[in-house]
Symmetry: C2
Subunit: 299 residues, 2 copies
């Protein structure tokens, strides 16, 4: 049976998603704080709701995509919010980037009303939303996630279920975004080092692209971190210290300022001081794990 | 004409490279500080030199792969070193990870003798060296690099010329290694955040692998940093601050310790304070560039 979807929030991501769902014949209603953005949908005969509860009342699935925790909490839990309008057994699909704690509170509130919460934060750009080529990390119970299939198919080129609790996809999204920022920061530093050292930034990036550098690192060293597998070492931490010290010495000579590299040097030195110098440098993760209270003593 | 190659240094990388070159019919001589490692080559009829100069004297190309600056400097410039043995017009191919400054000094010393220096630090593992599937970033003048073709082909699955000075490939290697460490550190933190937040580490890594996350970040945001292209913004720095603050709040609640994320938050806040909050978050690179004395004022 084709689900009727209400889209709550018609911003940079919500509007193109709503148009995709409309084209797929799934869109029943929309709501937006600023009603001007609803006009394009009204022209197509889509119900424009006055309050979120009304939009949710027209839907089997209320898809919300809003700016932050405050907006999501208000639009979901207010007297005229999504939870107030959604029938029992219906689903709230939260696509916003929110805190895991709020995901937990929403889950509790919906469960208390016999409703389901699923979470599917969006991975991708507005252009990908318009093309239906987003990536989606989805989490929730089977009852919350299974009926979403046609909706997710209209939105995404790839959907991955990452857990049974709505917070799981939220954490995935937060980790994903943090990693994007960290990688971009590191790339920026590498390019600054290149330029200050007389190497062309283009040559460096071409090398990284041509060798499929990033994918190999994520596969090989991401896999080692995942499996806590640091022997045999192809690049022991002891040697990695030497390499990153050389990079920082080159930076110091040329005036390049590399805060991530400095952090990396300090962390690698600490790996060696912890007695892990002969392990693969990916034993960097043991420090983070130990500081975070995770078990590392089985090594 | 087939070049005769001497391999200087038979360590974890040098020994498998020497075997590859021997199988390709290119290996004329070897030298190693500890002569025990030369025995396997002597059995195959390869000349085992007593000092580096003697090995170089048998070669058109002296390939050195040694531990650090001190070893490379001594083995190259000592009275019985590579430079003393190499004939004019011959090539020293330096494959060690050394400082750019030493690459400059070696270049000068070889040029003074009418010799050539090329540099090709190794990207890859000992297993890849044994299979001839290394990646190589090569730099040097055309006179130094062109005759290396059969040697590089026996060693690597892909060779990229990154510049005309030997230091260029050295800087490439240092940037490459620093990036590997930074990425691995960030992955470790993301996995700690996942585990502490009740998301499976496997689910997170599967998501990153399945979406080809790392390659997309290097292409899209690496490209933006390269081109200093921060508009239109799909994720303005102002919003990125919100996302990374959520990640750190989740970390704080669960006890995960994420030094790279903290650094990222501080840098993103500084981007906003610098008046760049509406630019794509990749404007992180403008901070590094400004601190490094590179021009950012054309934005």
């Amino acid at each position: 049976m084709t689900p009727r979807v209400a889209v709550i929030g018609l911003g940079a991501m919500g509007a193109p998603i709503a148009h995709r769902l409309r084209e797929a014949g799934l869109l029943a209603a929309v709501w937006n704080r600023d009603p001007a953005k609803s006009a394009a949908f009204a022209r197509h005969g889509v119900k424009v709701a006055a309050v979120p509860a009304q939009a949710a009342g027209h839907a089997d699935i209320a898809l919300s995509v809003l700016f932050d925790d405050a907006a999501v909490e208000a639009v979901t839990l207010a007297d005229d919010g999504i939870a107030a309008g959604l029938r029992a057994g219906a689903i709230h699909l939260s696509c916003s980037t929110i805190s895991p704690g709020l995901a937990d509170r929403l889950e509790t509130a919906h469960e208390a009303r016999g409703q389901h919460l699923a979470s599917a934060p969006l991975l991708g750009s507005a252009a990908m939303a318009a093309d239906g080529t987003l990536y989606l990390a989805v989490s929730g119970t089977a009852a919350a996630v299974a009926p979403l299939e046609p909706v997710l198919a209209a939105m995404a080129q790839k959907t991955m279920t990452v857990g049974a609790r709505p917070r799981d996809a939220v954490v995935t999204k937060l980790a994903n975004n943090f990693l994007i920022f960290a990688l971009t920061q590191a790339i920026a530093e590498a390019q600054a080092l290149a330029e200050k050292s007389g190497l062309s930034r283009e040559a460096l990036m071409e090398m990284l692209w041509e060798t499929d550098f990033a994918r190999r690192v994520f596969k090989v060293y991401g896999g080692r971190v995942l499996e806590r597998n640091f022997l045999p070492a192809t690049a022991p931490a002891r040697l990695a210290v030497k390499d990153i010290e050389l990079a920082l010495a080159a930076a110091a000579e040329t005036g390049a300022v590399l805060p991530t590299a400095e952090l990396g040097r300090d962390r690698l030195r600490q790996v060696v001081r912890s007695g892990w110098g002969e392990l693969e440098f990916a034993a960097l993760s043991l420090l983070v794990d130990r500081e975070s209270g995770l078990a590392v003593d089985d090594l």
